[in-house]
């Protein structure tokens, strides 16, 4: 199990134990964390699982693919340098302690 912490726009934080080989998006949905919509279910179509990665983790994730980069241009809340789509972040033990901030809006 890998612990992922979601920080809501009102600064409330929720930590979940995510199963490896799933995704940060799926961890939120499975554990009932609001704020991740994931309309397309993780198929890299919709940009409604947008998160901001905590600075401490910025360089530790796999880089953004071209597909994800295109989708991030369409996020409902502002795209920032630390914006990612949570469906594209695979859960591995190396991500234990990852902190992500949820945007105001997903659509």
């Amino acid at each position: 199990m890998t612990t992922i912490t979601f920080i809501h726009p009102d600064n409330r934080s929720e930590s979940v134990d995510a199963e490896d080989d799933t995704s940060v998006m799926l961890a939120a949905l499975t554990h009932g964390v609001d704020g991740i919509v994931a309309e397309c279910g993780g198929n890299a179509v919709c940009a409604t699982c947008h998160v901001y990665i905590h600075e401490a983790w910025a360089g530790k994730l796999d880089p953004v693919s071209d597909d994800e980069d295109t989708l991030l241009d369409g996020t409902a809340s502002e795209r920032l340098p630390n914006s990612r789509l949570s469906c594209q972040i695979k859960i591995t033990p190396a991500l234990d302690g990852l902190v992500v901030r949820l945007p105001e809006r997903q659509s």
Binding site: L29, V37, A38, E39, C40, G41, N43, V45, C46, A47, D67, T70, L71, D73, G74, T75, S107
Partner: protein, 412 residues
Amino acid sequence: MNPTDVSASSDAPAGAGTAIPQLDIDPFAIGFFDDPYPAHQEMREAAPVIYLHKWNVYGVARYAEVYAVLNDPQTFCSSRGVGLSDFAKETPWRPPSLILEADPPAHTRTRAVLSQVLSPAVMKQIRDRFMSAAEAKVDELLARGRFDAITDLAQAYPLSIFPDAMGLQAEGREHLIPYASLVFNAFGPPNELRKQAIERSAPHQAYVTAQCQRDALTPGGFGACVHAFADKGDITAVEAPLLVRSLLSAGLDTTIYGIGAAVYCLARFPDQWERLRQDPSLARNAFEEAVRLESPVQTFFRTTTREVELGGCRIGEGEKVLMFLGAANRDPRRWDAPDRYDITRKVSGHVGFGYGIHMCVGQLVARLEGEAILTALARKVATIAITGPVKRGYNNNTLRGLESLPVTFTRA
């Protein structure tokens, strides 16, 4: 091939080849269209994989198996057709789609182009236009009071916005719905619906073929955007019109059925309608939940590229597998109170738009149209009452929806 023979064969690998029940169900018959839910339940409860001897196909109706098939495009391919017709054995009725009826790696390239044409960023650009058109349509309907929610709303709204967004010429648009209807009928078996649709198809095909050409498309529309990718070298000039054709095939009728489904749900579930009026920001999820519950696209086929074990059942190579998307979307193994329309349901993961690499490439346009109409309804309409006989459509092998829904709106 008889599935009972498959399961009984002596060379079946250990642990594989659980008996596959044969069911006497024709999912492309009028009686089935009338009320598919008892048959959906029978198929779901019978086994993870079933066999329908009427058309000699395997079927999956549970969420887990539908999901598994959608997520394994190498084993369950699309290039042999996503209807009953096997392109390895029969000549397709039209040149195959370069995206729907293609497998990776060919599919990856064309999919990338349409994904960019219909990206979230593009949706931001068209959003205001779609929202104002929905408000204008609802204002017009409120002025009328009583009307048909299928023809005057579910059809009229997409027709007022989508052909222009595509960049289509004004002439000939009456072919769009018949062409889409033809495409979705043609996924079905060689029954009367399919035969008649193809017999009458020539003028609709001629219109669409001409309308997909570069010089027939207005600059700035989705169609012209597809052609622009030919200039960049991502696709060829020959491929571009066929990719425009995909948008015309799948971009209109589906949203008509989706909006019709959503209005029908809101008219039948007054508590959910009230909830939407209280919080119009639920409009987008209310549309999504209607797509789950009603599943406007009911079925798609895949073809096995090898022998495969699915849900403990063994299926040979070259077999057609029919996915019951509508049954999966109401599988109680996956959904709580699956027959209930709940606009706050966490609906992510439903297969109403498919799933995996072939998941509807135009889903963002569909959602934008649905959100726009439901937002306008929630803000402007007080009550939706069904005030005449509700008529189901029986004219399509794949799409499920109403033909007529007489309603009366009162102003908020």
